[in-house]
Amino acid sequence: MDAAAPLRSWAIIDGPLPPERCAPLALARNDQGAIASFLGVVRDHHHGRGVTHLVYECYRTMAERLLGELVAEAAERFDAQLHTQVAHGTGLLLPGQVSVAIHVGAAHRVAAFAACRHLIERIKEDLPVWKHEHYADGGSAWLKGS
């Protein structure tokens, strides 16, 4: 059994998430039986319109604080020994690039899946980040929730 403190990290990143943020390898530890991951990816279409790129705006100081609170909330709710890594990108992202990555390691799969799902839903509810979507037809729009 690994008695070390659970790994918990969170970050707001400039630009799209790099490959190392998208892989959960740092969470593969002796006390983990399951790792659940969620990646949010920029889509190239929205309601029938082609999307060329997104610009993510962020209230960074609050977003960083809130991500830390959400990670703590997930541990409190699902398993105090959860290992958690969360990152959200900002700025200009192209279709296919990763905007958010959540990795949760737990002793068992039920807690890993549940905590991963909980984190993305809470991010969608509360993280102060806004998508400005730019379309192939030249238009653009701020998205209202998602």
Binding site: S99, I120, L127, P128, W130, K144, G145
Partner: protein, 82 residues
Amino acid sequence: MPIATVLYFAQVRDRLGCEQERLELPATTTVAEILATLGARYPQCAAAFATCRIAVDCRFAAGAVALDDESEIAVIPPVSGG
């Protein structure tokens, strides 16, 4: 009355043409009063303010709010992260 910093984001910032300003507000107020004050100051954004939440010093506020000159008020339009 204290003079707090007010931050605007996304569609609200675009419509106001303003990212932040210093605004005199009561030391003891509420989220509803802050949004009503902003709506009266910027009628062109009153409908947008009605959909916004308020954060004070990086935490969502609800109901009563205590302000001072160091307070940072953020007007949070519906978020769309992820």
